[in-house]
Subunit: 210 residues, 2 copies
DNA sequence: CGGTTTACATACATTCTTGTTTGTATATAA
DNA sequence: TTATATACAAACAAGAATGTATGTAAACCG
């Protein structure tokens, strides 16, 4: 049978994206063929070519479904300034929230893994790097704003500027995400990620929590 | 002309490795063919197959020439405990030294870039991830030892354990290396990397340097 | 000095992958 | 109800990449 309804078609589109995620994860993007993806999605390459232009197109569809939302989410968590909780805890929460999401959301986790260690950033993929850098800049700015609020409220240790603190935090979290992803069995980083975040923020508090 | 001397042969071997570095860098590992590499090295695929089993073999040869030495170097810098300089400065210096090496040594820099964003860690490459994780563990341990010495000498802010400080430092540096590599034009991280390291270490000093 | 091995170049066969084209049954719109 | 566009499946053509097999001239060794 052919010619499904529009809903059915959208469903197969999603199936293809999900299949691509599984295939990319185990074979890496470059070694994944459209045949592999089609097989995993239980369709033929015809269906894949109907819904997507090529493999790169699938990759970007995959990214849009999880990578960007998570960035936005972290961004939002930092931007919504509920002034009753202290800014340092806000930073801590937004970082922990991201880790939580990665822990609970398999799709998110796998897409991150694909983008970090199963993708070669050349040619059509190179632009992604710039976008990541831009996102990082934005997030660092948001963190800096939070640190500035903390400084105003005298919650922050002196001497250090919100700018350098924000950069340090961003680099810390960036490293954490990378190790979190690479640490497949979870023994080294996954289980203690939140503790590490707490420690990191505590380093900045004028009155460290116990 | 064929049949070079042994020295000539070794030279072509190096030329092939150098060519592979250039090709991997621009095309990514998976899209680089042995033909590309041979062309860049001004030999034929015959020569490449004579010196190497396949592309993976070249990759590992490339890695051994720079990636491992740099790890060892950082490791050594941390391990040689010249007890006259304070441990925190030792950590700072070893991190800065690595950044220096990346700044000055083009080969080193490019190989790092290849391994970080031009390689998909699946199949034969997956084992590299484990090795990286192990190296990270070792380095974290060395940093922790330095922090412990700093604690004994009361150079370190209290409350925090050398263990969590070491993990935080390692994650920071890991993030820094990643951003350093991705920041191709250098505007965001490369030029201020050492400043960031200084700030990071200063956060731990009981008497922060100015 | 002659045989053997080395260090490649060249040619060949095979497999993989991609993009396109064609076919087709059915939803959908008019 | 019928024409058309949709949502695929299946077949096709072409190039690219790999590994191997063969050829060869010069270095090296006895």
């Amino acid at each position: 049978m052919v010619r499904k309804t529009k809903e059915d078609a959208e469903l197969t589109r999603q199936r293809i994206i999900d299949a691509a995620r599984a295939v990319f994860l185990t074979r890496g993007i470059s070694r994944s063929t459209l045949e592999h993806i089609a097989l995993e999605a239980q369709v033929t390459r015809g269906a894949v070519y109907w819904h997507f232009k090529n493999k790169t197109d699938i990759f970007y569809a995959l990214r849009d479904r999880a990578f960007l939302p998570l960035i936005d989410r972290m961004y939002d968590t930092l931007a919504t300034q509920t002034d009753d909780t202290d800014p340092l805890t806000q930073i801590e929460d937004s970082l922990c929230d991201t880790i939580n999401e990665l822990n609970e959301n398999i799709e998110m986790r796998q897409i991150y893994e694909i983008m970090m260690i199963k993708c070669e950033y050349v040619d059509e993929f190179a632009t992604v790097l710039q976008q990541i850098l831009n996102n990082c800049s934005n997030i660092t700015e948001k963190i800096q704003l939070a640190y500035e609020r903390a400084k105003e409220q005298s919650l922050l240790i002196p001497i250090f500027t919100p700018h350098e603190l924000a950069l340090d935090t961003h680099l810390f979290f960036s490293g954490l995400l990378h190790m979190w992803v690479k640490d497949a069995d979870g023994s080294r980083f996954r289980y203690q990620a939140k503790m590490l975040i707490k420690s990191h923020i505590n380093l900045r508090r004028i009155n460290p929590k116990t």
